[in-house]
């Protein structure tokens, strides 16, 4: 009889030990916080990239006039020397800088004129459609192997563009006038199989106005 009691008591203790170790409680906030840590934070990545990697080297961007002349005379060399892209394909991006005079202010772009040798040329600064991968890819500073998912590097582009739309464009759009001198840096997209140099659009990274 005593043996039976001991047997049952031991079984109950074993059951309690197993049950205790099988179940545990955690607050929902803790679990949410832990999973949030694991998720890729595109906004933080974009801010760090923009401020700590892209901006310090922005002066090393190629002069747009020199680049476009090289693209015309020796496209292979121009693409090989100055273009970047995270993926493969015909679309490549260039980090550029330049200066000129505001010639017209449109709904979606601002037209800049500049002198190339003795000829007056024009290009557009995007002021509305700041989307896509131009800024992310143009510097060549981001390695695709840093990302596990396609959506992560898509989100990096979206967040970088958001910085430009919220921090770079508002003061330019509010203060820029026709006739103002402007220094700019930014990214351009060119299709190496179907080159079109008639319409160059710069996605801006910096825009510095010098009033008349």
């Amino acid at each position: 009889m005593q043996k039976k009691v001991i047997k049952y008591a031991l079984s109950i203790v074993a059951l309690i030990v197993v049950a205790y170790n099988s179940i545990y409680f955690k607050s929902l906030d803790e679990v949410k916080a832990a999973s949030a840590v694991k998720q890729f934070d595109a906004a933080s990545y974009a801010h760090h990239f923009f401020n700590k990697k892209l901006m310090p080297g922005i002066d090393k961007a190629v002069e747009i006039d020199a680049l476009l002349k090289l693209v015309q005379s020796d496209p292979s060399k121009a693409f090989l020397s100055y273009s970047h892209a995270l993926g493969i394909g015909n679309i490549r991006y260039f980090l550029v800088k330049g200066e000129g005079t505001i010639k017209a202010i449109g709904e979606n772009t601002t037209t800049i004129s500049y002198i190339s040798d003795t000829t007056q040329k024009q290009l557009e600064i995007a002021t509305e459609f700041v989307y896509g991968n131009a800024i992310r890819d143009a510097s060549g500073l981001i390695n695709i192997n840093e990302f596990n998912s396609t959506m992560d590097f898509n989100n990096v582009s979206a967040e970088i563009n958001k910085i430009v739309r919220s921090e770079v464009l508002p003061s330019f759009k509010a203060n820029g006038k026709v006739g103002d001198r402007i220094k700019f840096s930014g990214a351009i997209e060119l299709n190496q199989a179907h080159l079109n140099l008639d319409h160059i659009e710069v996605v801006p990274i910096t825009l510095k106005l010098e009033s008349k």
Partner: protein, 321 residues
Amino acid sequence: MIKHFPQPFLLLLLSLLIVTSSCKNKAASDQPRKIAVVVSTLNNPWFVFLAQKASAKAKELGYEAKIFDSQNNTALETEHFENAIASGYSAILFNPTDAEGSVANVMRAKAAKVPVFCMDREVNTTDGATSQILSDSYSGCVAIGRYFVEKLNKQGKYVELLGLVSDNNTWNRSKGFHSLVDNYPGLKMVAQQSADFDRNKAMEVLESILQANPDIDAVFCGNDAMAMGAYQALVAAGKAGHVKVFGFDGAEDAVDAIKNGKVEATAMQFPQVMAETAAQYADEYFKGKREFPKKMPVAVELVTQNNVGDYIAYGKKDEGK
């Protein structure tokens, strides 16, 4: 038992064994490696093109290649993987049937040390395939989104026809499009429905949507087959020419429709680039390379009435590679 055999006889037997075994190894090493091309379906010309180009590139690189048709059936896809592994295929160039459902097959190949290179469609795991070479659908649809906003002057009502809801490409395209278009409150999406990437279904779905929303200005479709189906529905409703249609893929009929002004734009994918890159990666793997990008996006190009002359179906123009 062995001790009863005369020693010279044992030595002779051993030598014969070594010679025959080395002959067999030599014969095996003389055979070219085999590459399996497992494709989701051969009922769609786009995937036929993808499979043929992958197979052709593998052969050009000196390998045997065979195409397996999964007929959009993951069970059949599993059989193909099992057969390929059992038959000694050295690599699989893979167009998955289902982002989630195909994961097990990729993991099966990985366990058998057979590298898998995904083409065009992805699987929802980052450690299964050696590399996934995929159209940059999201960015392609950002470009379409911009053109869409410009053509509609930032105002209007529109319908979105989605592809297969289980396919990642469906959502990458939709998200890319909305990442831009949703910033314009003047553009109102009155309906968003799946038509499974199917032309006939797209026609039926849009006909039904038009009953409740006869005043739409545009239709954005997740592929060109649906764009063509949508256009047929608009013709039947007498609205062709008034409602702008946008597709994705770069299929032959859509490129022709852009030339004829029936469709506004598509996003050109490059199946040949994806197929040939996958075969090239397999070749590099056999030669000892082990570091490959887990996901390699292939740029997608916006095709409109302004530049359609630069393109033909599937971006086949030589200079487009």
